[in-house]
Symmetry: none
DNA sequence: CATTTTTTTGCAAGAAAGTGCAGGAATTAA
DNA sequence: TTAATTCCTGCACTTTCTTGCAAAAAAATG
């Protein structure tokens, strides 16, 4: 049984506030099985440490600082939650996972839960930060930051990838076609993606429907080099990939 | 059953904490057949080594990695603008600059303006992102991400630093003392700081007044290894550093 | 093997923290 | 305004923590 002490309760409440949830004192009193006074005291404590803004009846989040980078990434499009959930599930048994950069994979990183022995390897500072905030161990690949996608690229990065072995690599895609395979807009990033796929036993692409059926400038991986595809496309689109021997998880 | 000694018990508890389990002092006292005092002492020991966070009744994982970095950034503890401006000025003529991690240096990175030929090298994903958003070229050093300050550490990282030459390294400090020098809370980070200083012709410390006159666990750089200090301390504090031959820029 | 030193352990008294309750002030809604 | 909540303050009670101390166990030493 979990401890029911001010520290733990407030930790839980803090998380909720960070997600933008409003807190009602009377409700958490029932939930944590404490008197409403104690619930109130928790909120007072959170307010003192600047994590909540108390209002009559409960508390609301203090205006989020809205990390600038998250804004930039999350501003355009948020990938479907079901697809992200499917991706998280597919990593359930993995210990060492290589995560690519890009907004879709970043959403996956944010959704990961800490687990003993789980290690994430990534060339993307955004993904690295997201994992760290979730309490997951991270190895960050170094290199020149590519202006296009904001991931490490270059010889150093490729060399580091050559020296490690992972169970699964999850790649984002600029474009994804059943015949052409996975392709990218930027040559350096394309090379790094290739190395990531090489370093892993299993390579999975994570691509929402907007990427399906299109081709980008640099061909990164042949369809045969892909083991899985997680997407939210139409059944007919998925069938084309399945015909190439790719395990498709469609949501 | 293994030997019932502190080491064994604490190892078991450590594993549980890593799995996110809450530990109740009274329960482990029964389980290990020791008094509650001994159980408490085990938890104290775990807390000392940073593996547990003690709360009333027991301990919880120190998990909320709540990257001190992220917390500081989100919490709006902004370093004084004048100090940051002074730091920006001091880099006016540099082409290749090594920037450390930490909230203070991060503030500096956010204030940097793009300039032809300027290249930033950093082990911190936060600093890397800040520079990229400012349109500055970045080389990100790779490595395991240290839980404490969220910077790359480890052999890989040190090796990369050994292979490059920069004009100036700007180091953040956990603590800064005129006699003891620059010191850090974390050994890995301390080693990386040392390597950063070695890789640069000039080493400058950026430390607000709260860091002055204090010492952290790991001695990183002797005062003689420092070329400059940018701070917002009192004149008397600064004089102590100047007496050691350090060029102090006080605001 | 005997003895010294260090570590570990349990105990007890006082300090501190957490909790619930009651009475009165403040705020909101009708 | 009145009535109903909700908040704040102080207080008593319980539980847990800290601290100092001495005995037991383990390790090191000669």
């Amino acid at each position: 049984m979990d401890l029911n002490v001010p520290d733990t309760r407030q930790q839980i409440l803090e998380r909720r506030l960070a997600d933008g949830v409003h807190i009602v004192a009377a409700e958490i009193a029932v939930e944590f099985d404490v008197s409403i006074d104690t619930a109130r005291r928790d909120l007072i404590s959170l307010e003192r440490s600047g994590k909540a803004h108390r209002v009559r009846g409960g508390a609301i989040p203090v205006m989020p600082p809205a990390a600038p980078m998250q804004e930039k990434i999350a501003h355009g499009k948020r990938p479907p939650a079901a697809m992200i959930a499917a991706a998280v599930d597919s990593l359930a048994d993995c210990k060492t996972v290589i995560l690519d950069g890009g907004s879709t994979v970043w959403a996956l990183a944010k959704a990961l839960k800490p687990r003993a022995g789980l290690l994430i390897v990534t060339p993307s500072p955004w993904v690295a930060i997201a994992c760290m905030e979730n309490g997951i161990e991270v190895v960050l690949l170094g290199g020149r930051l590519s202006g296009h996608g904001g991931v490490s690229v270059g010889l150093d990065c490729e060399e580091q990838l050559g020296q490690l072995a992972a169970e699964t690599a999850v790649l984002g895609a600029c474009a994804m076609d059943a015949d052409f395979g996975l392709s990218s807009d930027n040559m350096d990033e394309s090379r790094v993606k290739k190395m990531m796929a090489n370093a892993a036993v299993k390579t999975v692409a994570l691509a929402d429907r907007t990427k399906l059926g299109s081709r980008a400038r640099h061909r990164t991986l042949l369809p045969t080099a892909l083991d899985g595809l997680i997407t939210d496309g139409t059944p007919s689109e998925c069938a084309a990939f399945q015909a190439k021997g790719i395990m498709v998880k469609n949501v």
